[in-house]
């Protein structure tokens, strides 16, 4: 493992494939992301308890947690700083997984309502 990992640092600078030499963000930046994640989690739990929001609770929560996922992937996992091809590899899996969950939820929870 270790000997394969070695050249990564060097090859980044030398390569032509991608334009950005984005430096790693500072520790303070990471802490900010962490704080934002905690706050969004707090908001989610609040939404869970506020009865007035029950009608739009599900879509709201899905949007907020998707935002959390995006934050972790982009910054903690540095996807934003990586060459685009990694994004495509990840998206392939993430999109298909989302598609599968959605399709099965539709098949089991939505379509039966239209059954004749």
């Amino acid at each position: 493992m270790s000997s394969n990992a070695t050249p990564a640092a060097n090859s980044h600078a030398a390569d032509h494939g991608h334009g950005d030499d984005a430096h790693h963000p500072t520790a303070a930046f990471y802490v900010w992301i962490g704080v934002i994640l905690a706050v969004v989690t707090g908001v989610e739990v609040a939404i869970f308890y506020i009865e007035a929001l029950d009608a739009i609770e599900a879509p709201l929560l899905v949007i907020l947690s998707s935002a959390k996922v995006v934050l972790v992937v982009m910054f903690f996992m540095h996807l934003k700083m990586e060459p685009r091809v990694i994004t495509w590899v990840f998206i392939a899996g993430a999109v298909l997984a989302t598609f599968m969950v959605t399709a099965l939820v539709i098949l089991y929870h939505v379509l039966p309502r239209f059954a004749v």
């Binding site: 050249p7 091809v85 590899v89 099965l104 098949l107 379509l111």
Partner: protein, 612 residues
């Protein structure tokens, strides 16, 4: 450190090439040797699965025969399907991925040579494990789709289904590891100038297939975990008594199962997209279209799974959606067929055995595609479901598509592998016995199916009046079996004493033909620079490339260390999975310890010789 050209104090005089002992094969991480092991193993399993098929055909030759008991018959057709898909068609394709892809993209090996060896050994042990079930009299017997509730303990109390779900889980690990390896290899290790849109089609289809592997296999993996929990730990995922839904198994199985169909067929499409241009002496017609069609097939392949489940009664909305999606996927497939025909159109065609198999594929696969379109329509499907019509259909696409494509690849790349041609006379015999035997076996099944003969039942009534079709099928199956023997005889004979082949025997355009046959164990003395899609068809470019690839290196390139850890880790993984059958928590956890141990050995073992 990362360079071959810079000062390296220790010149490697010892070449692994000369090592041919058993130990060198066990510890090899060379993609070419792993490819050969994949091919040989898959061929052995091809004979196992073929033997099972012949027993089935003997039993079905006449109505109401009792040569084989219903119980044994269940095991035979289950293992025939499981073997042919997971132990023959898939690993046979992986053998070609392994041998050809690094050579086509100008790489010295795959991205993770040890993981590559691990994939092979897991496949081998998983295959042995599955077939070992015969020796304890408990071979899987619930068909290759293993529908719940038949697979639940009440209805399958023996160990048969345990062997099945554990065996498939083991094989799944090998597939995912392989998929990750080839994605990384193809994206990361191309020679300079080998842009994505310059890659040979076989490499492209390997990439698409690898994506399908890493995305589809986890789905069946989890479904098998659920099944295992239902069988061993009393969960109720598929058990209606506890509120579970057996249809959910069908969904999960086919969410995997349909992409799996494209895992089987896309490598063959890749092979013939390389072979047809080589023997037409014309570039592939509409290269980008063929690439995009392949990607599109892979993608839409995810949205059609419920066409295997029309008889379940999902309702008109769901059925309509899946009918439409299924019919749409015929479009990119049809596009490819037109591209192959257009490539041949006006070319100077050379009908070698490889080319014959390609043309055979185009013809036979189209028949399978047409019957596919027929049962893509839900109302028609209701008539054909679970009949021999379906058996005819999927043999036309899997044997007539996937396997014929791979045999084309066999005749095409064999000279590269061992520096000798496969015998063309025997090759033509192989081709024609295949064509005649195959069509004689499966074409009559369209009729026996439409006349109402159900699949997966050990006999049929004389009143059905399908005797003649079954007799034809049985005769065809034996001719088809003969073709496999001819192929094997040809392989053995040509391997030993075939006519010697030059580096580029077919005048083909891709990088794998720019190096000697057989290749050095390091493939490329120097890595060439590619300037076009058909680099060897441009005289100037060819000269530049061969100046590098045919040169004697001043110093042998540094290749990865051989390692005995992959085979040990594979054995540990197989053992850990096998112990799941006990259903005892502490034994299962103990069984994971060797896996952990060898994983650590793996992580701390240097992959390359010291100092690199």
């Amino acid at each position: 450190m990362s360079s071959v050209g810079t000062v390296t104090p220790d010149v490697h005089h010892t070449s692994h090439e000369e090592d041919t002992g058993l130990w060198s094969w066990i510890t090899t991480v060379d993609h070419k040797r792993i490819a050969i092991m994949y091919f040989v193993t898959a061929t052995v399993f091809f004979f196992v699965g073929g033997f099972e098929a012949l027993l089935i055909r003997i039993q079905l030759m006449n109505p109401e025969q009792n040569l084989i008991s219903p119980e044994l018959y269940n095991q035979l057709f289950t293992m025939h399907g499981t073997t042919m898909i997971f132990l023959v068609a898939m690993p046979m394709a992986v053998a070609f991925f392994n041998y050809v892809v690094p050579l086509q993209i100008g790489a010295r090996d795959v991205a993770f040579p040890r993981l590559n060896a691990l994939s092979y050994w897991i496949f081998l042990f998983g295959g042995i494990y599955l077939n070992a079930s015969f020796f304890v009299g408990a071979a899987p017997n619930a068909s290759w789709v293993g529908y719940a509730t038949l697979t639940l303990p009440e209805f399958s109390p023996g160990r048969n289904v345990d062997f099945w779900f554990i065996g498939l889980s083991i094989l799944g690990v090998a597939s995912i590891v392989g998929g990750v390896n080839f994605i990384t290899t193809i994206i990361n290790m191309r020679a300079p100038g080998m842009k994505m849109m310059r890659m040979p089609l076989f490499t492209w289809m390997t990439l698409v297939t690898s994506f399908l592997l890493i995305t589809a296999i986890p789905v069946i993996g989890v479904a098998l975990v659920f099944l295992g929990f239902d069988r061993l730990f009393g969960t109720v995922f598929f058990n209606p008594a506890g509120g579970g839904d057996p249809v959910l198994w069908q969904h999960l199985f086919w969410i995997f199962g349909h992409p799996e169909v494209y895992i089987l067929i896309l490598p063959a499409f890749g092979v013939i997209s390389d072979v047809i241009p080589a023997f037409s002496k014309k570039p592939l017609f509409g290269y980008p279209i063929v690439v995009y069609a392949g990607i599109l097939i892979g993608f839409i392949g995810w949205g059609v799974w419920s066409h295997h489940m029309f008889t379940v009664g999902l309702g008109p909305i769901a059925d309509s959606f899946f009918v439409a999606a299924t019919m749409i996927i015929a479009i990119p497939t049809g596009v490819k067929i037109f591209n192959w025909i257009a490539t041949m159109w006006g070319g100077s065609l050379q009908f070698t055995t490889a080319m014959l198999f390609c043309v055979g594929l185009v013809a036979v696969f189209t028949v399978g595609g047409l019957s596919g379109i027929m049962h893509a329509s839900a109302p028609v499907n209701l008539q054909q479901h679970d009949s021999y019509f379906v058996v005819a259909h999927f043999h036309y696409v899997i044997v007539g598509g996937a396997m014929m494509g791979l045999w084309a690849g066999l005749y095409y790349w064999f000279p590269k592998v061992c520096g000798r041609y496969l015998d063309e006379t025997l090759g033509k015999w192989h081709f024609w016995t295949t064509m005649i035997g195959f069509n004689l076996t499966f074409f009559p099944m369209h009729f026996s199916g439409l006349f109402g003969m159900p699949r997966r039942i050990f006999t049929y009534s004389a009143d059905l009046n399908v005797d003649i079709y079954n007799q034809l099928s049985t005769v065809g199956a034996f001719i088809f079996g003969l073709s496999a023997i001819i192929m094997t005889w040809n392989l053995i004979r040509s391997w030993r004493s075939g006519e010697p082949a030059p580096a580029n025997p077919w005048g083909a355009p891709h990088l794998e033909w720019s190096i000697p046959s057989p290749p050095h164990h390091y493939n490329f003395p120097g890595i060439p620079e590619v300037r076009s899609r058909e680099p060897l068809w441009d005289p100037k470019e060819r000269a530049d490339i061969e100046a590098v690839t045919m040169a004697e290196p001043e110093r042998e390139p540094i290749m990865p260390n051989p390692s005995w850890v992959p085979i040990c880790l594979a054995a540990a993984i197989t053992l850990a999975w096998a112990l799941v059958m006990t259903g005892v928590w502490w034994i299962i956890i103990l069984g994971m310890l060797p896996v952990l141990f060898f994983t650590f050995l793996w992580a701390f073992e240097p992959a390359f010789p010291e100092g690199h």
